[in-house]
């Protein structure tokens, strides 16, 4: 398995990367961890004319607190996130999800920025970032913009990223005290990508659930927030019955994927099971 040929550039800074990306007449792609892109190159599913390697841009690799946000540089690896004490303290589902991605070798090099730019419907980050109310920072030579995760993920392998633009940062708001989060994943047995991945965030105070966020990966052709489940639990007591009733609303009205390992009815059932499991962890 050998890719078609391409040019390779390694950028030392974001500015350099942006100017390399802006070269006219060459179909240029960003290379980060390469763990989605290189497999696609090898199968010749993707044949860019040039790659701009951003993995070693020091200014893009960090996890730090800034006021009410935790900022994650886009070339932070899954392993960086899995090992982050800061994230574990404030929003546990991120390290939890990171630890469930692929295998140790994949986590050592794959990056969060690459994953969300790729927007595989079965990937783990998209739903987690939706449930986290995260914002995505994009930069191009024209400047920088910040999108809510909700506005960044547009569909099947499709995002708001425009040509010449790169993901530079993921901004995760720090949830209020008493908020719990989790990511529960049912894996496809071969690839171990998500058949159903459920990210859930709930604040329980005075015996009621508030700020409920539930988002899914793998269920539909893109990640989505499941407001039916959220609304069904918001304002209710975190009882097993309420959780079950809310979970039963999962994946209503979405077009559900169907494949060799999970047909539509089974996937929908799993979405309910995983919503219940996730909500039980955070609210039960």
């Amino acid at each position: 398995m050998i890719p078609a040929n391409f040019e390779y550039h390694r950028a030392g800074s974001v500015d350099e990367a942006l100017s390399l990306l802006a070269q006219p007449d060459v179909y240029t792609k960003v290379l980060s961890g390469g763990h989605s892109l290189i497999p696609a190159l090898k199968l010749r599913l993707s044949q860019p004319g040039a790659l701009v390697d951003i993995a070693r841009i020091a200014e893009l690799r960090y996890i730090r607190q800034d006021g009410n946000y935790i900022l994650i540089g886009s070339t932070s690896t899954h392993k960086d996130i899995a090992n982050s004490a800061l994230l574990a303290q404030h929003i546990a589902m991120l390290p939890e999800a990171a630890g469930l991605i692929g295998d140790p070798q994949v986590r050592n090099v794959g990056t969060i920025g690459g994953s969300i730019a790729h927007a595989d419907p079965a990937a783990d980050w998209p739903g987690v970032l939706l449930a986290a109310d995260a914002e995505i920072v994009l930069r191009s030579q024209a400047g920088s913009r910040t999108l809510a995760a909700q506005d960044f993920f547009l569909g099947f392998y499709s995002t708001a990223l425009q040509e010449g633009e790169i993901v530079t940062e993921i901004r995760v708001p720090i949830p209020a005290a008493g908020t719990k989060s989790t990511y529960q994943k049912f894996m496809q047995p071969a690839s171990r990508f998500a058949i159903v991945g459920c990210a859930a965030v709930v604040q329980v105070s005075n015996g009621t659930c508030s700020k409920v966020r539930v988002a899914f990966n793998g269920v539909a052709d893109a990640c989505f927030r499941d407001v039916n489940v959220e609304n069904a639990l918001a304002g209710k007591a975190p009882t097993a019955e309420n959780i079950a009733a809310a979970a039963a609303q999962a994946a209503q009205g979405v077009s559900i994927l169907s494949d060799h390992y999970a047909a539509e009815d089974y996937r929908k059932h799993l979405a309910e099971v995983y919503a219940k499991r996730a909500l039980t962890v955070v609210a039960g």
């Binding site: 040019e7 390694r10 763990h35 295998d103 140790p104 090099v109």
Partner: protein, 162 residues
């Protein structure tokens, strides 16, 4: 078209011209004759090609040679020192952690990554750490024991993994 890379491999500096599309595993195998890293798949799934790049286990079939310019690469050929097996290699021999040997270099390198991060792994932790490596021969039973053996040996001798 080609790019110039300078890489330390098993402690030796190599400077080469490579096509940008050249995968690290083919660079090691074809250009440098380091055939210990194997290719067992084309979907980054099997781990037979695992090497350490700057100390971390990486699938060299999913890494461009160009990406490791300036890095420190260790392959299975670089573990034994002065003709004596590395404790992980010894562990695989002592506990019969290999049969056909094809997955073994990758397994050993994945184990090296694990033991650097977790010198005293439980069976469950070992099994999870091998998620990225297939073995079709051993059923993994003795691979688990091999890594436990290595962990004990490293502890007893107070030795660093690398």
């Amino acid at each position: 078209m080609s790019v110039k890379i300078s890489v330390s491999i098993n402690g030796k500096k190599y400077t080469s011209e490579v096509e940008p599309r050249q995968l690290l595993v083919y660079h090691l195998r074809e250009a440098l004759g380091l055939t210990g890293s194997h290719v067992g798949c084309d979907t980054s799934s099997c781990g037979a090609c695992t090497v350490l790049v700057d100390g971390q286990a990486v699938k060299s079939c999913t890494t461009l040679a160009a990406q490791v310019d300036g890095c420190n690469v260790i392959t299975v050929e670089g573990l034994a020192k002065n003709g004596s097996l590395h404790p992980i290699q010894e562990g695989f021999k002592e506990e019969h952690g290999l049969q056909c040997g094809f997955c073994t270099p990758g397994m050993i390198m994945a184990a090296a990554d694990l033991l650097q991060n977790n010198p005293d792994p439980s069976e469950t932790e070992i099994r999870h750490a091998l998620e990225g490596n297939f073995c079709r021969c051993t059923g993994y039973h003795n691979i688990v024991r091999s890594i436990q053996w290595a962990a004990n040996k490293l502890k007893e001798t107070n030795a660093a993994v690398l």
